[in-house]
């Protein structure tokens, strides 16, 4: 989903760039220690590895092929911070070496594929690992499913974010830029739901291969969270990681939502007017009300899902803490 220039509304691209720079700078500062000289070749070669792995095409029906995004895989191998930096490097290399992906759109592309995808992948991976690890050591099949779910989610949410950006661009610019929500959302989500399957399968296969061949190379092996009492336990555990990831992603989508809320409706109304008064009748007179509601519904849905997920995870965690303490030595 490399977006070219000229597609998104300028204000959306600008927001994308600002968000990307803020997050990237924050990551560089926070993991400044990790990016020691010694790690540069490692990150570079992993980026090169993901880049090359992206070249593996798999057919997704209808004669088209999809390819690996790799954000989730990157994060599962070496954590989200390195993954964010590495995926950004991959995007830059793709853009500068092949002209794949635009420069005004780089902010948005980076947010989707270099920030959201790794974060979601890592968050879901942590969450599911945390949930499953308590009972017994997870077998290969379970591990594979966990990785697959994380990878699929990363592609799907990234595609959703992309669809959101397209839809907001459309709404805000009165139809000059972007793609209407009624088309963008189903198209992006539909195609990427299928691509996500390929990503899930390949990511699972790769992780299983790594686990069996060279487990030492994976640095985010989830350690059983030390059972610290009370809040500390909740914050340091795998659930906390998942929550952090989802919160960051959610925060990234907020500016666009506000943009839509403030300008989008006007923009959509204007498009309706233009469509009515323009000499050429558009082929489809969109049920704009449907588009508006769909869009709002999408956001409401995401909010609701997040609230429920966070709440459930937090409660589960606290409950488990209590039981372990009760059944303690």
């Amino acid at each position: 989903m490399h977006i070219p220039d000229g597609l998104m509304a300028p204000v959306v691209s600008l927001i994308g760039w600002i968000e990307f720079l803020v997050v990237f700078a924050a990551i560089l500062l926070l993991s400044g220690k990790k990016i020691k000289e010694k790690n540069l070749p490692r990150v570079a070669i992993l980026s090169a590895g993901i880049f090359v792995a992206q070249m593996l095409n798999f057919p997704i029906g209808g004669g088209t092929t999809g390819h690996l995004v790799g954000g989730a895989l990157f994060a599962m191998i070496c954590g989200p911070a390195i993954a964010i930096i590495g995926m950004t490097v991959v995007l830059l290399v793709q853009g500068l070496m092949f002209g794949d992906g635009g420069i005004t759109a780089l902010g948005l592309n980076a947010i989707n594929m270099a920030i959201i995808a790794p974060l979601i992948g890592w968050g879901v991976y942590s969450l599911l690992n945390g949930l499953s690890a308590k009972k017994t050591v997870p077998g290969k099949a379970v591990k594979g499913i966990i990785v697959g779910a994380a990878a699929w989610a990363s592609v799907f949410v990234a595609a959703a974010a992309c669809a959101g950006e397209l839809a907001v661009s459309y709404a805000v610019s009165s139809g000059t830029f972007g793609i209407a929500a009624t088309v963008a959302v189903p198209a992006m989500l539909g195609v990427h739901a299928i691509i996500g399957v390929g990503e899930a399968l390949i990511s699972a296969g790769v992780m299983l291969y790594l686990w069996s061949v060279s487990p030492g190379s994976i640095t985010t092996i989830d350690k059983r969270a030390k059972a610290l009492p009370g809040w500390k336990g909740v914050l340091s555990g795998t659930t906390a990681r998942a929550v952090t990831a989802i919160l960051i992603v959610f925060a990234l989508t907020l500016p666009l939502y506000f943009l839509y809320a403030s300008q989008g409706r006007d923009g959509l109304e204007k498009t309706m007017q233009d469509a009515g008064t323009a000499g050429e009748k558009p082929l489809i007179s969109t049920p704009f009300s449907y588009g508006q509601n769909y869009f709002s519904a999408l956001f409401a849905g995401i909010l609701g899902f997040l609230a429920v997920a966070l709440g459930a995870a937090g409660i589960l965690r606290l409950a488990r803490m209590r039981t372990t303490r009760e059944t303690g030595p």
Binding site: H2, E37, L56, F58, S173, F177, S217, T271, A278
Partner: protein, 249 residues
């Protein structure tokens, strides 16, 4: 899409043409500044005439660069899905004019970037970015990554050939469990080899006194051609922008 380009015989990637054309010999910094300015401004144009002018300039740049057109066309085809998707949808919702405008605008932005990519040695591009004050962490990562993409893609094509020699033709579809397994294992092997080499490469760098940066020895300097290109493109962009803003205001 990129696989065909990197894996193709006799090509080390796309900038094999860069050395042959006059465009390739220009200073990377000038190209970066000129083309980036032009693309950023072309991306915000909404007036049909302005978009048309910008597309014409982009095509002129393409032709003037003397880069092989079939090559650029192939690269362009890779971007087509999104462009087509956007243009058709805009067409369906807002009519002919807007649809074509979308196509022209996106193409006017994509083409100069393709010219930049194909017409410049990638390493020089990264070195140019560094000289334009992009942080060293990023440019060094870019240079190292590019160096190792070449290495790993050679390994990948060797593995692919070996697989093909054993009759593997690629996964048929997403339900082809065996095919996908092979793909996943290939990807896994590429990654494992990457890890093993990373530490060796670090030692190799330290043996040559590497200290965070990979600055090239031969440094190009700005010549009149560079100035002309950069200012030419920037001037066109500035004019287009003023008109565009005037239209909005």
């Amino acid at each position: 899409m990129t696989f065909a380009n990197i894996g193709s015989h006799g090509g080390d990637g796309l900038d094999e043409y860069a050395g042959d054309v006059w465009f390739g010999k220009l200073d990377a910094r000038a190209k970066l500044v000129g083309i980036f300015t032009f693309v950023v401004i072309s991306a915000v144009l909404t007036n049909m005439e302005l978009v048309l002018i910008s597309l014409t300039v982009a095509l002129a740049l393409l032709v003037a660069s003397r880069l092989p057109l079939t090559h650029i066309a192939k690269m362009y085809m890779a971007a087509v899905p999104f462009i087509l998707f956007a243009s058709v949808s805009v067409f369906l919702f807002s009519g002919w004019e807007r649809g074509i405008e979308m196509w022209m605008r996106t193409s006017a932005c994509v083409l100069p970037l393709l010219v930049l990519a194909a017409g410049t040695e990638t390493f020089d591009l990264f070195a140019g970015l560094r000289r334009l004050r992009v942080p060293a962490v990023i440019t060094t990562l870019l240079m190292l990554t590019q160096r190792y993409i070449l290495l790993l893609s050679e390994e990948l094509s060797r593995m692919t050939t070996a697989r093909r020699a054993r009759g593997f033709k690629g996964a048929r579809n997403l339900t082809d469990r065996y095919g996908l397994k092979v793909l996943a294992f290939t990807a896994g092997m590429v990654l494992v080899r990457s890890f093993q080499r990373a530490d060796d490469i670090y030692e190799g760098l330290k043996c040559k006194g590497f200290d965070k940066e990979m600055t090239p020895w031969r440094r190009s300097s700005i010549a009149i051609n560079d100035v002309l290109l950069a200012t030419g493109l920037a001037a066109v962009a500035a004019v287009l922008l003023t008109v565009q803003l005037g239209v909005i205001a």
